[in-house]
């Protein structure tokens, strides 16, 4: 883990090269996080991966999160890892909710880290965040014909009708 001053140094260094790409930092519970302008996520991750002073070459995990009612509402988290130095760095890309008729969008980083193929599909499936240029962006855990984004905070729990044998003719309408 970079410590708090180390994190600020990384943020300044990236902002010197890619002006305005880092909008903030957070350091809590000994975990460092860079908050990144979502439009420039690919630049920043590519820099963090390839620059010799960073070399975060392993993307351990990718999470989506919904911070309703906060604004920006969504965020995608990238857990970077430098294996030789055993340093972890989280990159957080906050995403504004574009309203009920559109989906938030962010660039896919599949070209940089092929390991995000399934995780990005998962975040798309559960949060409805579109990853531009993902090679195969389909639902992964929910059925292909599912409607809605179940992990969003305003998605009700227990809303699906339960199919019993006495109502299976009417509730899903599979059996005619």
């Amino acid at each position: 883990m970079p410590d708090a001053p180390g994190l600020e140094l990384i943020a300044h260094e990236i902002n010197d090269r890619h002006a305005g790409a880092i909008t903030g930092t957070s350091y809590e519970h000994a975990q460092a996080a860079l908050i990144v302008d979502p439009q420039r996520i690919r630049e920043v991750l590519s820099h963090l991966r390839d620059a010799p002073e960073h070399e975060y070459r392993f993307l351990a995990s990718l999470h989506g999160a919904d911070y309703l009612p906060a604004d920006p509402r969504f965020a995608v988290h990238y857990e970077l890892l430098n294996m030789p130095r055993v340093e972890r760095l989280r990159v957080k890309a906050p995403l504004v909710d574009p309203g009920p008729d559109a989906l938030p969008e962010i660039d896919s980083v599949f070209e940089l880290f092929p390991s995000v193929e399934f995780p990005e599909r998962e975040v798309y499936d559960l949060f409805g965040i579109l990853f531009r240029d993902h090679p195969d962006l389909r639902r992964i855990l929910m059925p292909e014909d599912y409607v809605g984004w179940p992990q969003r905070r305003d998605f009700p729990i227990g809303g699906d009708p339960v199919i019993f044998t006495n109502n299976e003719h009417t509730v899903p309408g599979w059996v005619r």
């Binding site: 809590e28 519970h29 351990a60 995990s61 999160a65 092929p114 390991s115 399934f118 905070r153």
Partner: protein, 426 residues
């Protein structure tokens, strides 16, 4: 390393050099380089979701040319139960029950990842005895998980008796879990702040007996499998993927170590006091299915070593933190102390509040990096829990393992990948 060097090392290892170089090519550039005859027609079939060799309900869309796999896409979600969503409606102490049901062969690891993340958010230290008890149970769980993996893998490769031997030792481990926690599976033994209960009298002796027996059993398994011609032919030089490619695909755990990368969070991270123990990280050389099997066998031996050292050095003291705002008060205090009764009531009805924050807590599970990401919003329920399950990420490597090989090898590759569908679908 040049080809000539490779050949020399291979000769020293007594392996078939030509077969190995060909197998390596399969991992990186599948279609052009395989020296198999091209037929005209591609045939796409479903394997699964109901196929015994898929270890659950995993569906594979396989494009075949004759018997050769040309493309493969896993389709999953048949076991998706929305555990992460359900956890957002449960208080932290109830969510533990949920999370251990994700990867159902690694329940202690799921609990540790979640409890560790919450402890980090609370800035709560667990007492040394609790940490040791957690290590003992997690390492027993690792052996258990590898035994199930070994048994089902052997079954897929036609060695049926191996399954029963492996499940015999697995049952002994379940007996130990039952002794300490009252449950054989899904024990909910860990809680935020430590463990739920101290181990009973006689548990240490039983564990040590198990530690004496297990290495002999592993010897017996090896005697059964290691020189079995069929097993060797099915596993050696099949499913090879290079270390670099595995790292690109985010693969961790025994699969990565079998390819020669000694990456183990127990050594490099200090989530639990593993530095007190002497153990080694087994690694492979070529990264074929045989190496994966060998790495898992040796990991079981190392786990036995850790368990023995942990039992012998088990510190005295409390088994759980004494922070009464988080941990339930002991039962006997409820009848004498009003404060204890109030806290018990508040903890059970409302749960404890966790200050706002975000934490990612990775641990070394039996299948690789098991990370729990928890977002707390200050209430008694988590705002978001996400499990980075190693089965889910490792499954991305299946295509690289299988393309260019035979269908029969696909079964071996999948078995050696050891995915747990409960962890993939969550």
């Amino acid at each position: 390393m040049s080809i000539a060097d490779t050949t020399r090392t291979e000769k020293q290892l007594g392996r078939d050099a030509i077969a190995r170089t060909e197998a390596q090519v399969i991992g990186t550039s599948p279609i052009e380089r395989t020296a198999l005859e091209r037929e005209e027609e591609l045939f796409t079939i479903n394997m699964g979701p109901h196929h015994p060799a898929t270890h659950g309900v995993l569906r594979l869309l396989v494009s075949l040319e004759g018997e050769v796999v040309r493309d493969l896409k896993p389709v999953m979600g048949y076991l998706h139960t929305g555990i992460e969503k359900s956890m957002e409606t449960k208080s932290y102490w109830k969510a533990i029950t949920f999370i251990e049901r994700m990867d159902y062969l690694a329940y202690f690891f799921n609990m540790e990842a979640f409890c560790g993340a919450v402890e980090k958010l609370l800035e709560l230290e667990i007492p040394p005895r609790a940490a040791y008890l957690r290590i003992i149970h997690m390492e027993l769980n690792r052996i258990h998980s590898h035994l199930v993996g070994l048994g089902t893998t052997s079954l897929d490769l036609g060695a049926i008796s191996m399954l029963w031997y492996a499940f015999r030792e697995r049952d002994k481990i379940l007996d130990l879990f039952e002794m300490s926690s009252g449950q054989r599976m899904h024990t909910r033994y860990f809680q935020v702040g430590g463990v739920i209960e101290d181990i009973p009298v006689g548990f240490e002796k039983r564990v040590l007996e198990f530690c004496d027996e297990m290495p002999k059993r592993i010897d017996q398994y090896e005697a059964l499998i290691d020189q079995n011609e069929i097993f060797l032919q099915r596993t050696r030089n099949t499913g090879v993927v290079s270390k670099e490619r595995l790292l690109e695909l985010g693969v961790t755990g025994p699969l990565l170590r079998a390819a020669g990368e000694p990456w183990d969070l127990r050594k490099v991270s200090d989530y639990l006091p593993y530095k007190d123990f002497e153990f080694q990280i087994p690694i492979g050389t070529t990264g074929d299915n045989y190496d994966r099997y060998r790495v898992r066998m040796d990991e079981m031996r190392e786990s036995v070593k850790i368990i023995r050292q942990a039992i012998e050095g088990l510190p005295e003291g409390p088994f759980s933190s004494d922070d009464r705002k988080v941990v339930l008060p002991p039962r006997h205090e409820l009848s004498t102390s009003m404060e204890a009764l109030i806290h018990h009531f508040k903890l059970v009805t409302e749960g404890f509040r966790v200050p706002p924050g975000e934490v990612y807590f990775p641990i070394e599970g039996p299948r690789g990096e098991l990370g729990c990401f928890v977002v707390a919003d200050g209430s008694a329920k988590p705002a978001r829990v996400h499990m980075r399950d190693p089965s889910f990420t490792n499954l991305q490597a299946l295509r690289d393992m299988c393309v260019g090989g035979y269908v029969a090898d696909l079964i071996a590759n999948l078995a050696m990948l050891d995915p747990i569908i409960g962890g993939i679908d969550r």
